[in-house]
């Protein structure tokens, strides 16, 4: 597991789920379908990515394909970092 996935997991454990539940969380599991993320949760995720990875996010990029699982989010962060 890379550092990006680790930091996402740590963030989820601190903010969304009990730490023991993080171990059971699948990397492709949908945040939306498992009910983990609501409208505040989406903002928290956006804020976390901007703050922790120094990435500027446009509303048009807040799509399920970029934000709806650990793997989606990690891939999105890598793509944005490559562009910088």
């Amino acid at each position: 597991m890379s550092e990006i996935e680790n930091r996402i997991l740590q963030f989820l454990a601190e903010n969304f789920v009990l730490s023991e539940q993080v171990e059971q969380l699948g990397f492709d599991e949908s945040f939306l379908e498992n009910g983990m993320i609501d409208s505040t949760g989406i903002l928290e995720l956006v804020f976390f990515v901007e703050d922790q990875f120094g990435i500027q996010i446009d509303t048009s990029e807040v799509l399920p394909e970029n934000f709806d699982s650990i793997n989606c989010l990690a891939a999105y962060i890598r793509r944005k970092q490559d562009l910088q």
């Binding site: 939306l32 009910g35 993320i37 609501d38 409208s39 505040t40 989406i42 903002l43 928290e44 956006v46 804020f47 996010i57 509303t59 048009s60 807040v62 799509l63 399920p64 934000f67 709806d68």
Partner: protein, 322 residues
């Protein structure tokens, strides 16, 4: 006409069924002598007022209009028009002084300044919005704050979680002060508070817990917004109200309900939802409404997500069994 357009039609008999239900619950079940309705100049409160006047007799109904400084200037004239149309007494209770005393506007400004440090409440207007039409783009429900000031282009920024929660907590004070006022007038007359939530608002969590969600009965909670419009026409609600775009009437820049929360025109949203509730496949719904299957799936996913994440709002206080 499509299958879903046809299925969305309600019979005019629904007016009598709801009126009887209001009458039985207010008089028999709750032993109250009338009803108070918070009117906003919008379609839902106009329909509930008309139904209540019919059910309880118009001299046993009070229409309470509770504007505050961010309310639209059009609202009062429309509230007065609908009260006059149905022969109901209109009581006006300006709630800005109460909200000022509670710190609502200061809290709101403090939260807005986290996003726009040069915000000036006396010259700027703001509103919360979700991304544009969900039918066009599959973007998630990420709230942005729009700031409008004369002479400069509109600004739009994604909210920080802290600012978002601060703005929502402050703006929800408006609905909670209104509930307090409704119950004051209700108890003074031994009346019930009759709520105005429709199915869209209730099931998708577009209401404030213990705010506009606080009422003794909710006579149109089973109706899709499109059906509320049908009832409005049956009941003779003034055209100015029927033609008005539904707004939140909460933020100074006057956001519509579609841009603030629902993201899809009610006409389509309701039909997709009805199809889903009737067990129709996304493919069948798409064909019936001339949409793509992907668009229908996107709207259904959004509906389910809103229902799931707002369950807390609809839950009564939990307790242990003895």
């Amino acid at each position: 006409m499509s299958i879903l357009s046809d299925a969305m039609q309600i019979a005019v008999e629904e007016v009598s069924r709801i009126s009887e239900w209001i009458k039985n619950n207010v008089f028999q079940e709750f032993k109250r002598r009338g009803g108070v309705i918070g009117v906003s100049g919008g379609i839902d409160s106009a329909v509930v007022l008309a139904l209540s006047a019919r059910a309880l007799e118009n001299n046993k109904v009070i229409a309470l209009f509770m504007p505050e400084k961010d309310s639209s200037p059009d609202s009062q004239a429309l509230a007065a028009e609908v009260a006059a149309q149905f022969g109901v007494e209109l009581v006006i209770n300006e709630i800005s002084p109460t909200l000022t005393a509670l710190g609502c506007y200061d809290y709101m400004a403090e939260a807005i300044k986290q996003i726009y440090p040069d915000y000036e409440s006396n010259q700027d207007k703001v509103k919360l919005v979700l991304p544009d039409n969900l039918l066009e783009k599959p973007s998630l429900n990420v709230f942005s704050l729009v700031l409008m000031r004369n002479g400069r282009p509109e600004l739009r920024k994604i909210l920080s979680p802290h600012a978002y929660l601060g703005i929502v907590a402050a703006s929800n004070m408006k609905q909670r002060v209104r509930m307090l006022s409704l119950y004051y007038h209700a108890e003074k007359h031994n009346y019930a508070v009759i709520g105005t939530a429709n199915k869209n608002e209730h099931d998708q969590g577009f209401f404030v817990k213990y705010g506009d969600g606080g009422a003794d009965l909710q006579p149109i909670r089973h109706l899709y917004k499109s059906q509320v419009y049908q009832l409005a026409r049956y009941l003779g609600v003034p055209q100015g109200i029927i033609q008005r775009t539904p707004t939140t009437d909460t933020y100074s820049a006057g956001s519509t309900q579609e841009e603030f929360y629902f993201r899809v025109p009610f006409d389509l949203l309701d039909k997709i939802w009805l199809g889903m509730n009737r067990g129709m496949s996304a493919d069948t719904i798409a064909k019936d409404l001339d949409l793509t299957v992907e668009q229908v799936r996107r709207v259904i996913a959004d509906l389910m997500q809103k229902k799931r994440t707002t369950e807390y709002l609809r839950t009564i206080p939990l307790s242990l069994s003895s």
